[in-house]
Amino acid sequence: MTNFAILPILIPFIAGILLAFTHNRILLTRRLAMLFAIVHLMTMGFLLYKVLVDGSIVLEAGDWSAPYGIILVLDPLSTLLVLTSSIILLAVVWYAPASVSEEQEGFYFYTFVFLLVTGVSGAFITGDLFNLFVFFEVLLMASYALITHGGKKVQLRESIKYVLINLFSSMLFVTAVSYIYAVLGTVNMAQLAERAAASDQPGIITTVAILLFFVFATKGAAFPLYYWMPHSYIVPNPVVSALFGALLTKVGVYSLIRTFTLIFHQQPEIMDQLFIWVGNLTMLFGVIGALASRNIKLIVAYNIIPAIGFMLVGIGIFNHDGLSGSIYYLLQDMIVKAALFLLAGTIAAVAGTSDINKMGGMIRSHPVLGWMFFIAGLVLAGVPPFSGFIGKLLLVRGAFEKGETTTVIIMLLTSLLILLSIVRAFIRIFWGEGEAIKQQTRHSARSLLPAGLLMLFTVFLGIGAEAILPTVQQISDYLLNPQEYIDLVLKGGR
């Protein structure tokens, strides 16, 4: 029963290894990859059901009891995120043959994709701060391979910067962990939470927390540490961009949510303001970047940043509505970002350029693509009835409750500017005269289905919010009460 907790890591890991052996038989590899992605999705769905019905699952690896061994925790939050990442994995694996060349596919492409998901799942479910670093490295290693996959000049140029900034922040992470070990004498998150709450030196803990905040903010692309992100996310294949945009930055945000609700909430007056202001500035600067871009992929990549800002503000608000909003936004943003990157990749492939000024009139030749891009834009901006609206509504309500009126104004302004940036891109690309693009490549039909699957999920998250919101609110209550997590891990269940 508790051994189920290893599955989110084990399935993609085994899939990655097996797919390495079949790499020169492309058809077989594709089918196997699809099969594994579907199995992963179904298993994660089953696990979520199990966790919601029977309560969280904790695995103590090697039967070393909680504070000493490595533990894996499947609680509602981590399971929900693992499920979401498996949906993205399925869409990405489905889309890949339309966009990745056969030569690249044969070069262990799927292996790296699955290993990336292994790392992401591991980061979501681990209950140990050092283990979190290890899983970060697992996913980063796979991402280093994916970002250079294809070996184009521009890819190599940007990947150097990507690797260096991530390496630097990883080393900072290790340093921060060793500070924490020196102060609190453990790296198990539950025990850290317990000891931090009982500690009489909140000042030192807050200092270390801010160091860790900068580590996760670098990974999660928050202001002022996002500069490395947009340009390096758009150089690889659109499939890889979708995977990165949907998963990598969100792992950083998840780590912030987990550690800062659980462990580092000693001096709320400092931490909350830090989160709110970093969030505000992240929203503003990100959306300004999106407005200034003329490259469709860059517009989508810059739109990751304000979303990160929304989530940070939600953590800073730190009440029931704020945290629910953050989690809801996190879930829906993972899916809609993946969809947008896939659509932008298709648009760029069909038009033969990614400069929006050189496109035009594509709605006549590609109506479905156009309207899907439009809906994805509405979701991103938070127009009701789509899912972005629910997340923003919760955040705004939480901010008012806390009395952060400035933040509310910035949030609404940012949403409006996001809408402007997307609608402007939509008008440039799909309306107007422009030469109607006739080339019906294999791209259009085949690549729309995976994006359509993702769009279906986002629309469901918006219209079917009634079904998911109670779970999210339950998670929010659970995060506000760290004792529950501590009891779960250290005392073996509720």
């Binding site: 050092f130 190599l156 690797v163």
Partner: protein, 112 residues
């Protein structure tokens, strides 16, 4: 003893940052390697330097050294070893294709 180690780690951090801020790619890589050494030394020191027997509990063991920092360092060393070798290969490829190892010349906004 801790003080000496901390100062040494600090010096290593300083050199690492200095090297990372250079323009030449190889120097930057040396900087990252030094950075990882500094971080590892730092973990070891933060776990308190103690003399004692190995951390296997037998009767009569009075003092034993803390195994956790050592386990952490070992993991971290393996990872940074892997990343450094990957970075060297990547740098080699990047220099070959871009024709320069100067970070100033590796800037740019063209993406096609």
């Amino acid at each position: 003893m801790e003080i000496i180690m901390i100062v040494l780690a600090g010096i290593l951090f300083g050199f690492a940052v200095y090297n990372i801020l250079q323009k030449q790619l190889l120097r930057i890589i040396i900087g990252t390697a030094l950075l990882s050494h500094a971080a590892h030394l730092f973990i070891l020191t933060m776990g308190k330097l103690k003399r004692g027997s190995s951390p296997v509990l037998t009767e009569g063991t009075e003092s034993y050294s803390d195994p956790l920092p050592q386990a952490l360092i070992l993991t971290s060393i393996v990872i940074s070893f892997g990343v450094t070798s990957l970075l060297l290969v990547l740098a080699y490829r990047a220099v070959k294709t871009n024709g320069t190892d100067n970070m100033e010349e590796l800037r740019g906004n063209d993406h096609d």
